[in-house]
Amino acid sequence: MADASLGSQAAAKWRKKRGSLIMALHEIQDVKGYVDWSDAVELAENMDVPLARIYEVLTFYNFFKLKAPGKAVISVCTGTACYLKGNDKVLEKFKSELGIDEGESTADGMFHLQCVRCVGCCGLAPVCVVNGKTYGRMTPENVPVILNEWREVFKEN
């Protein structure tokens, strides 16, 4: 088990517990950012769950990603408060600045743009979140600033 893959690690942790398939999938996605085919196969073998069942679950729930997202995942909140305060314009600005649509990643793998349901910071609406960092009171003018901030972050690394 020295080089146990993520799938078998997650299975080892959760197989004895009840109601644990979704938890095991979270475990994989937390580390890797997405759940790919090989993880699902490993999980199926080690947890004794049919692969079809795993894909059924993976594709039903919005939270799980099947492909690697960009390094910086931009989540634009589409909750009601953010909608009323004009987050659609912020989303449009992200789309035009990055040249991608929602649910897509840029060609260089730097950014991934997605819409999410209410992140629960309605007091700060409109809100977007980049890799866990929340930006409140967004305006379209802030968009290039935030993108540059993250370009700098990845340049340093």
Partner: protein, 556 residues
């Protein structure tokens, strides 16, 4: 809690007493809001700076710094509250690092050191938020009493504020039937939106015999966009929910408890995990709790971004590790739930009320509210409103009081048009109905619902057809696809709304919208499909002219 010996018997009274004595030693408490909203606006750095300034002045023994749950006024965050013995409590808003430095060095430190309140100078003045605002004065905090006033990650602080006394009372002085009866008499109703009597639900669950297992499930799958009450309760006072769940378990004879929480709420999950761990360490979970023969354990399961999982049968499927699709009821989960075992599903806020009712009595609880809706309700007041945030008011408070007094009305220059309650399953409360009291029945009368507690304030710049489309877009996207009325009906309604919005709609399209809506309400399998047409029907009812103005043949 590392200093507690695992072999020792844990006396909550002793832990509470010690903690109170410890708190009492400090001359000043600084509460720093540390919930998702304020953390997003930088409260982590602020907390660090306050700590370092206090250390710099060697005042660590006199000033206590507490990272708390939500203080409520999220739009003004980050917030800190300063309470110095014998002096006026102060609240500071929208602070940044420079402001914190000023507040600490020019106000807090000298006030503590001299024992006399220092005058607030012009560099601090803009950050002062008056505690006399109606936002604070008009609220009645039952569920949110602890949030903002204690460290949610410290179980002893919860005990110092009376935590787990209700559990002790239930386990040692009451029979399960008496607990059920007390909750029934209090008039507590499900806070997740359904409004079913909690006592009745417990009674039904208690009647089903526990053969091998029975479950209590806490529904923390708060999916309504624009609502974050449950998240704030879990972040601000996780032990209150756990205690409520344990009392419920005792009342109905449950053997195990499950929390189902949205994966999008990492901080709430983290605090809940810590709280459960602390309970285990203090022997409040496990076998022979508090020396009685009550055995109970709790586990957490995460959602994965499916709105429909807020529906109890879908939620149960999700915990079981399957697609979150609902199934027809009956059988109700109280008879056949998780893994086919009897299960009782309660909402976060519902459970958070339980310990208070047991301690203060059903009559006390029932003294708040209206004839049919008792107690208080937590709302997330958002949208086009001055003081957007988390509030708690007695049932029966009017919409006007909530929006115009507590919320401070819509920002200058705009006029209030309506308030939306109940999220994508709810409807509108137009400005003409502002004096309506918040109560399950009254809201239903005009085609809205109490819902879980999202209140969205809408000003006159909003177009109601687009708003209805926004909500329907959401429910169509979140429909699980199991039953045809919801899967197909929603999509057809959306296509019609789109047509109307593009100026291509005709009068007969409005009729068709209503017909599909009726079919969905009657024939959908679960609450999602049954209520999905509500925002459309509600806007049609009150703002039909906005629809007809967009029709080809609509204008007179």
């Amino acid at each position: 809690m590392a200093d507690i010996d695992l072999e020792k018997r844990f006396d909550i009274h002793e832990i509470a007493k010690n903690k109170l004595a410890e708190i009492e030693k400090f001359d000043c408490n600084i509460y720093c809001c540390h919930s998702t909203g304020c953390k997003s606006s930088g409260s982590d750095d602020i907390l660090d700076l306050i700590k370092s300034i206090v250390a710099e002045h060697n005042l660590g023994e006199r000033i206590r710094i507490v990272a708390t749950g939500c203080m409520g006024l999220c739009a003004q965050g980050p917030l800190i509250r300063v309470e110095i013995k014998g002096q006026k409590d102060r609240l500071f808003k929208r602070i940044d690092l420079a402001a914190v430095k000023n507040i600490m060095e020019k106000f807090v430190i000298p006030s503590v050191e001299s024992g006399k309140e220092k005058a607030v100078d012009s560099s601090i003045e803009p950050y002062v938020l008056s505690l006399d605002l109606p936002f604070f004065k008009k609220q009645e905090k039952v569920v949110l009493k602890n949030a903002g006033h204690m460290d949610p990650e410290d179980i002893s602080e919860y005990m110092a504020r009376g935590g787990y006394l209700a559990l002790e009372k239930a386990l040692k002085t009451m029979t399960p039937a008496q607990v059920v009866d007390e909750i029934k008499r209090s008039g507590l109703r499900g806070r997740g939106g359904g409004g079913f009597s909690t006592g009745m639900k417990w009674e039904l669950a208690a009647k089903v015999p526990t053969i091998d297992e029975k479950f209590i499930i806490c529904n923390g799958d708060e999916g309504d966009p624009g609502a974050y009450m449950d998240r704030s309760i879990l972040e601000g006072d996780p032990h209150a929910v756990i205690e409520g769940m344990m009392i419920a378990a005792y009342a109905i004879g449950a053997t195990e408890g499950w929390f189902y929480v949205r994966a999008e709420y990492p901080l709430a999950v983290e605090r809940l995990e810590k709280a459960i761990k602390a309970c285990k360490k203090n022997r409040l979970l496990g076998n022979n709790i508090m020396g009685t023969d009550f055995n109970f354990n709790i586990d957490i399961r995460l959602g994965a971004g499916a709105f429909v999982c807020g529906e109890e049968t879908a939620l149960i499927h999700s915990i079981e590790g399957a697609r979150g699709t609902p199934r027809p009821r009956p059988p109700y989960p109280t008879n056949k739930g998780l893994w086919g075992k009897p299960s009782c599903v309660n909402n976060v806020e519902t459970l958070a009320n339980v310990s208070k009712i047991l301690l203060k009595g059903a009559d006390w609880f029932a003294s708040f509210g209206t004839e049919t809706s008792k107690g208080t309700k937590v709302f997330a007041l958002t949208g086009q409103v001055e003081h957007s945030g988390l509030i708690e008011v007695p049932m029966g408070t009017t919409i006007n009081e909530i929006v115009n007094e507590i919320g401070g009305g819509v920002p200058a220059g705009k006029k209030l048009k309506a308030v939306q309650s109940g999220g994508p399953s709810g409807g509108l409360i137009p400005v003409e109905y502002m004096n309506m009291p918040v109560c399950y029945e009254e809201l239903k009368k005009i085609g809205s619902i109490m819902g879980s507690g999202g209140l969205i304030v809408i000003d006159d710049s909003s177009d109601m057809v687009s708003l209805a489309k926004f909500y329907l877009d959401f429910t169509v996207d979140e429909s699980c696809g199991k039953c045809a009325p919801c899967r197909i009906g929603g999509r057809q309604m959306l296509a019609l709304l789109d047509k109307i919005n593009r100026g291509k709609g005709k009068k007969k399209d409005l009729e068709l919208l209503k017909r599909i809506a009726f079919a969905m309400q009657k024939a959908s399998l679960c609450g999602l499909g049954q209520t999905a047409p509500n925002p459309v029907l509600s806007t049609l009812k009150f703002y039909e002219s906005e629809y007809t103005n967009k029709l080809v043949d609509g204008k007179e």
